[in-house]
Amino acid sequence: MHQITRSAELTSLPEFRKYINLACSHHSGIDKQITYDLQLAVDEACTNIITHGYQGMNPGSIILSLEFKGAYIEVTITDFGHAFEPIQTPAPDLEAGLEDRPTGGFGLYFIYQTMDEIEYTTNPYGNRLTFIKKLESAVG
């Protein structure tokens, strides 16, 4: 398992992206599109944690771990801020005109579009968001 822990600050996002790139480059069969999708999903999820989860708090850590399990990659993001339920967030209305669309919400939409499974749990030990990215889903 690969793991990195950084402060819940926007300045940590490039480090997470770089880390995903490095971890993926060490495993064969992971193309650039998958790496990009993972980076985008982690970027959006961490942005939510930073701007909402730790809002009003002295920001703590975000722990990002990647596990390469043959047919899929499991990404886990752990934080200790306020619980944030990404799954309950409605998808943005892509049919609406620009002026009618609320701001935000697209980051989560991209996560839903690019990941195959999402699980969110919260307990006294922290909040845990897990993505599954199947490797074959990127083909074709």
Binding site: Q3, I4, T5, R6, S7, A8, E9, M57, N58, P59, G60, S61, I63, F80, E85, I87, Q88, A91, Y112, Q113, M115, D116, E117, I118, E119, Y120, T121, T122, N123, P124, Y125, G126, K134, S137
Partner: protein
């Protein structure tokens, strides 16, 4: 709309709360966390059996203390356990002498409101080393960290002897085995993580090295490191205005810790407060807010 997407939002299972541990409850909920308040209701000798796990046997052996009976070479009891029925906390102290004056191990843990465990205090002192009277306010019963009242002369002596704030003696170099032992206890009692609030910068750094992450305060630790660099406000505030603010203090963990204990964070409009750390049992977070630090 969502290609291939499966969504699950699974709250961790909450086990039924029970005050009294029974064999049937333990059998039925094999992974449910057991609280200290539940253990404390057990008969004394059972409690002792359970809490024995908290002290590393090799640490007791170092002081010729039997890890089972807790008796020393002279036959006296060298370990004291406070785990009253009705309480949600445990205090365990080990002494190197029969008179129980020289404490070398002090651990206080408690349940928190969320049903997980907190380390409230952990001190590992070398009883052979000189003792410093850095604590002057004995009125505040819980304060043995030296923050309620400062004895500046003793603090300076302690600093010059190489101690960090909050230490009254040299350490034992046993933090790693003590935390490993504690995690064995946590795994046995069904806890997946535990928490503590570091009272000093040096303590936070030590716990980082042992695999802790921050519930609160990671950004503050990053800021402190940045501001101690050349040109930073904390670096500039190391102006020798007190013994604890020497210009080279930024280079070392202890130097920074003494300066912070002395209130230098005022220079960045911050205080050392509200930090909280978490350790996942069996896992290291890999936090390093002072890269390449010298202690």
């Amino acid at each position: 709309m969502f290609r291939n997407l499966q969504l699950k939002s699974t709250p961790d299972r909450i086990e039924p709360v029970t005050d009294q541990l029974t064999s049937s409850w333990l059998e039925q909920y094999s992974e449910a966390p057991i609280l200290l308040s539940q253990i404390n209701l057990l008969p004394e000798n059972i409690k002792k059996r359970v809490y024995r796990i908290l002290i590393p046997p090799e640490l007791l052996a170092r002081f010729q203390i039997d890890p089972v009976s807790w008796k020393g070479a002279g036959g006296g009891l060298h370990v004291r356990l406070d785990a009253r029925a009705g309480s949600n906390s445990v205090r365990l102290m080990a002494f190197s002498d029969d008179d129980r004056m020289d404490e070398f191990f002090h651990l206080e843990i408690s349940d928190n409101a969320e049903g997980s465990l907190e380390i409230k205090m952990l001190q590992l002192n070398d009883p052979q080393s000189p003792r410093f009277g850095t604590v002057i306010n004995r009125e505040v019963d819980q304060d043995v960290t030296g923050k309620a009242g400062r004895n500046l002369e003793e603090e300076q002596r302690a600093m010059e002897a190489g101690l960090a704030p909050g230490q009254i003696r040299d350490g034992l170099g046993a933090l790693k085995i003590t935390l490993n032992q504690f995690e064995t206890f946590l795994a046995a009692t069904g806890h997946r993580a535990y928490f503590l609030e570091p009272q000093f910068y040096s303590a936070a750094w030590l716990f980082e090295k042992r695999g802790f992450a921050y519930v609160r305060g990671h950004k503050l630790m990053d800021n402190i490191h940045a501001e101690f660099q050349h040109g930073g406000r904390l670096h500039q505030a190391l102006d020798s205005s007190t013994s604890f603010r020497k210009p080279d203090a930024w280079r070392f963990v202890r130097g920074r810790a003494w300066a912070i204990h002395d209130g230098i964070l005022e220079a960045i409009s911050e205080k050392w407060e509200d930090l909280r750390m978490v350790k996942q049992v069996g896992r290291k977070a890999g936090v390093e807010t002072f890269p390449g630090a010298e202690y």
